[in-house]
Every structure is written in structure tokens, then in C-alpha cells.
Amino acid sequence: MTHPDALILADHDEARDPATQLFLEQHVRECAECRELRNKVERVDVLIAALERPIPVPPWSDLDKHRSRRHSAVLPIAVAVVVVGILAGTALREWRSVNDVAGTGAAAEQTTSFEIRPVAPWRTTGTGRATLSSRGELVLEVSVRGPASEISRPGTDPLQPNFIWHLVEGTCASWERNDPGHSVIARWTLDPQQPDAQDFRHVVSKGELDPMTRPHALAAFRNGGGGPLYACGDIASFGPPAAASSAATPAKASPALPPDWQVLTEHDLTIPLPQGWTKTLDAPASGDRPDPANDPRLLYFGGSTSDAAARFVAIWIWPSRSLDQLVRERYVQGNLSLISEGTAPSWRPMREVIGVASWSAGAAGGRYRARHLFVKVDPERVVDVVVFGPRVASTETEPTPDMRSIQEIIAGRIVAPSQQAGCPRTQSTDALTGVVTSNGVIGIVGETFASSGAFNDSFVMVKRAAAVGERVAVVFEQIPPITAPATSVSYGVPASPRTTPWGDVAFELGVKPIAFPSSCWRLLVDGADSGIVLFVGP
């Protein structure tokens, strides 16, 4: 007997014709199974509809303060259960080693020892030494011992690292109580070295480190499953960090551009690439979160059409004002199986995240690591340059040294021409539609960037409540420093039919009259400042 489950499950969602309704009622009368399902559906609807208890709403003026506190309270809980899906291998070791190198160059400024005690019912215990270097980095040297069941997690996967070490702001006691108002400063995990011991040295960079003038704790949480605190040690507060030499902070110089490389300009970014590489993908990446105002753009550049060789680089352009926030929210807590994250040594602020993904093709399959390097290219955008391990069946691979080197040059040298030119190009968008706008009335569909060589391109301007045939007077006023022969360009433009997120009308503003390299233009419409700034690149 076929049961009309779909009709029952959609009972209250749609009007039905009388014949269908009659059929349904007759069937339900005769079918005990369907009656039971209908009863359950009705109960489900009641359960979900039941009102929550009244919840006090924080006053508007208080919202900001609530945000800070709540965030701090939730973050450690989320962080404590971050998944480290697999063995942390070579990539992590390399990441650690470069951090170690960064931390060894200066004499110790302040040092303290601390005890790591087990948190009942666990038994892991140890000692640690914390040194706040003159460069503002915290060097942790730790040795812990405990039963193998706690240190190396034998069982389903004996190689899976068990602990995620956290440097947290707050005391161990308050962490055990799960008090709100804490935050995680840094976290890392380690290869199992031996079943019942971990000895390591880890450097927390100045960028990650909150000023050590407040109590901090080094805590080991179990890897995964919302696990408990295993072991914890209180690190005594240090005095205010000594003024670090600004000259000592940058770990590296800007990477040199190899002579045979090319530089492409895409989306207001100048991107250095090996000779012969081409763009193979340029698309909005909206699968992760359907949020027009926050969707990234994804570019692929490669020198090989073979994915298996992984001779390509992915560049994600994220609308984000905060490097750290993006890394934390979209990668570390987001859709990535995390192996490690930290600050990469670079002449510019750069974060590194290493994750792992699996692939399959027919009967074959394997895993590869992805190395992400994040840099902020202008006030509104963070770029994630990613390289991948090649696809090798039944193997977990990581990016080759050659690809890592290419990645570091790209991430180290990628810049936004508008930023270099000092042009405050408008990038704010309407959250609902993704249209670039400053005042919500006049907008640009797509980008506020054009190439000076694109004479035939247009900026697509939209205006609320515009009608076909309407004519507006537009004025482009050049923003200093003046690089174009004309300081102001004006013309009239009619509205023409065109489907846009704001309706079926648009104004096409030709690039040609302002197509001067590295010029920056304020857009006025009918005499009023639209708040939109356009940039014409190299």
C-alpha cells in the first residue's frame, strides 16, 4: 500500500483542492500508520510552535557590551571542541619550527615557572616555563606525563593527537568553573611523541598574545567531542611588556619577485604569478553561506590543467575588515578540518591555517592538506591564498615545497592598487542584495573598480525607484592625488532596461571618459554626492 506521507507532512502548509483533501481524509481513516503519522505531525507542529519562555532583551544601548561578554563566554567552549581530524604531521612541525625560529632571536625578558596539574578525574601532570621575550613573544617550554589513555589516545586511531593546548586568559579555577569572560589567546596541537609524555616548546607570537599583565593559564583540552579540561597550569602575570623594538618585529622582508614572473590585475588586486599561469576560474563562491554581503569571490590560477598535480593556487577574496575575525569565524570554527593555525612569519601581518580535505574519484580516494595564508589587502578585504597537496590515492599529501614557495610570494606581494593609490574605493554593500552602496539609494552592481584598459566596460549604476527613460546627470570628481588630465567629468545618462538586484532598470556609466590609470573618482548624481568612490586601476 502506498501512503500519502508527503501530503500528511505538508498538511498545514498549503491549500488543497477538495478532491485531494477528500482522498487524504479517506486514506487516513482507513490507515492506522497514516493516522499515527498525522498525529505525530500535529504534535510536532505544536511542539515547535510552543512559545519560548520570555527572554529579556538587552537594551539597545547595552548591546555592544553584551556582545563582548557573550563572545568571550562562548568562544572557549567552541574552541575546546575544535576538530583536529587527523594526525598533525609535517606541516604542523614546519609551522612550529618557523615559529620557534621567530622566538629565539632575542634575550629573555621575564621568566616564570609553573605547575601543570591534572583536573580530576584525569591524571596528566607536568611542569612548564614561560618566558616573555623582549620581542613580546611568549615562549612556553612544557613537559607533561600521564597515562597513555590521556596523552596519546589509543584505540580507534592511535596516531590521532589527543590534546589541544590552549593559552587562555583567566585562571585554571575559573576555567574549570566555566566562568564567562574568558578568551583563548592561542591554541595548537602536537604529534604524539610517546604514549605517555609530551615535551614541547611553543612560541606564542606577539600578535596573538594578549598583554601578559593579566592572569593566563595553559590548558589542555581533549581533542573533540566537547571534551573536558584535562590539565591546567596557572602562569603568573608579567609586568607590562618591555617596549619591543619595532625594527625587530618583522620576521622577513617582502619576498622578491622572480624575474620571469608576471603580474595580473584582477578585482582591484595585482597578483604576481609564475610565467605562463592563467586564470582558470573566477566565480562568486556562495555555497558556504548565502549571504550576498559576505560572500567571497574565488579565483583559480594555474600552470597545469591537472588537478592531480595541484599546480594551481586558489585565491579567496573575502569581504572582511578583520583578518583575525575571518580566520577565527570562517576557518577555525567554520567549515574546515583544522590541523593548525597561527601567525606566519612575514613582512606583513599574515595568518596561516592548515586544514585537510578528502577526495574521491571512482574507487580511488585520499586526503590532501590545504595551506591557507591570509593577508589583509585593504580596509574591506582579506585575501586567502591557498595551495593544496597533490591527489595521490590512499595517501595524505601536503603542498610541495615549490608550491608553498609560490604561495608565499603571492601572499607576500598581492596588493590592492586602489589601496596603494590611497583611493577609498567604496566596497560596502546592501546586505540583502550585495549591491555596492553607501547611502542605500544609489548603488553599483558589481565592482567599483575598472581597468584603465577596459575602455568599453561600464559601471552599472542603480537607483532606487528609477524608471526606464529617466535621465540623470552624473559627475565624476577626481580625488587627489590627481593622476588624470581631467579633474571632473560629467555627462547625462538615461536609464535602460536591465535586470538588477534593485529592479529592472540601470544606468550604464562608461569607463572610457575616466579611464586614466590609478585614478580615483567620487560619483555625484544629479548634483548630490552618492557616497560612492570608483577606482580605475593600472
Binding site: 507532512l9 502548509d13 512559545l51 519560548e52 539597545w60 576538530v83 567531542g225 549571504d291 570554527q333 542605500g440
Partner: protein, 175 residues
């Protein structure tokens, strides 16, 4: 307004005076908080989502003028934020259980079970069910809000009810 705009990192946005944010907040914060609460692990997480909703709205610079449209717009933002959170929680749950972790506390109250079951099903289905049954939006309104077809919304509701029943009974709920 300035305070939260700065907190949201949107201080360079220009004039948003056309939107009375405080009025909008007073009108909808309670409903959005309850909506988020139904889909959240605890009250703090719900409040985070509500905060995130208004932060994202502020980032947009201006809300729709029509009150109904503004309400739908805010719920759309809240839904996106909630789906994001639920996906994240799903990932975090995708962990081998080695036998030592603290087991999740099963709430004794029915509402806790409802929340747990909602978090156990696909985020898109869970949000559709709550928008429909808890917030009272019609399928057509949800479709407009989420930018998908009405048929897709109905499909989410049908599948969501089925999955909810399975999940609710699996965690000990009785229907």
C-alpha cells in the same frame, strides 16, 4: 548607534539616518531572540545570534522602509547567521567519541528536546520549520525571505518534519 556601529567595524559607512535602528531593534529584537533561542544550544548562543543579526543589518547601512519588508529582511539575516552556527556545531559534533568525554546533558524539559532535535536535522530544514511554525511566516514569505522558490520551502518543511520526528524520538522524545 555610533557605539554599535563602531563595534561592528562599520564606522566608515556613511549616513544611515534614514533607518531608526533603535526603533527597529525594539520592534524585532524580542522575536528574533526567541527565534534564535529555539535553534540554539543555550540563551547566550541565542543572544549572540541576535547580536550578529543586528550587527550585519547595521553593516548594510539601511533597512527596508516597509515594516513588513524590514521584518522579513531581519529574519533572513538571522536565518543566515543561524544556519552558519548550526553548520559549525554540526562540524564540531563530527568527532569520534572515545568514551571519556562529558556526555551532553539531555534536558528534562520538552523544550530542550525540541531544541536538540532541531539542531540534529539539516539547518535549512530546521530554520524553515521554525520560521513557519514558531514565527508564523507563510511558505511564500519564507521563500521571498530566503531567495528560494516556494516549492523548495515546502520541500524543506516536509523533509524537516520527517527528520524532526526521527530525531526527536531518537533522543527520547515521545510524540
Amino acid at each position: 548607534v555610533t557605539e554599535i556601529r563602531e563595534a561592528a567595524g562599520v564606522t566608515t559607512r556613511s549616513d544611515a539616518s534614514a533607518t531608526d535602528w533603535e526603533l527597529l531593534y525594539r520592534a524585532h529584537a524580542g522575536g528574533i531572540l526567541r527565534y534564535c533561542r529555539r535553534l540554539s544550544r543555550n540563551g547566550e548562543a541565542a543572544e549572540e545570534l541576535m547580536q550578529e543579526t543586528f550587527t550585519r543589518a547595521l553593516r548594510a547601512g539601511q533597512a527596508p522602509v516597509d515594516p513588513n519588508e524590514a521584518r522579513r529582511w531581519l529574519y533572513r539575516i538571522a536565518t543566515n547567521a543561524t544556519i552558519d552556527r548550526l553548520r559549525r556545531e554540526r562540524l564540531l559534533r563530527f568527532v569520534r567519541f572515545a568514551g571519556h568525554e562529558r556526555a551532553p546533558q539531555v534536558g528534562s524539559e520538552e523544550t530542550d528536546l525540541v531544541r536538540m532535535a532541531l539542531r540534529a536535522i539539516a539547518p535549512e530544514q530546521a530554520t524553515a520549520l521554525v520560521l513557519r511554525l514558531h514565527q508564523g511566516f507563510a511558505p511564500a514569505e519564507i521563500a521571498a525571505m530566503l531567495g528560494i522558490g516556494e516549492a523548495a520551502v515546502k520541500s524543506r518543511l516536509v523533509r524537516g518534519r520527517r527528520r524532526f520526528i526521527e530525531a526527536y524520538e531518537r533522543i527520547g522524545g515521545r510524540l
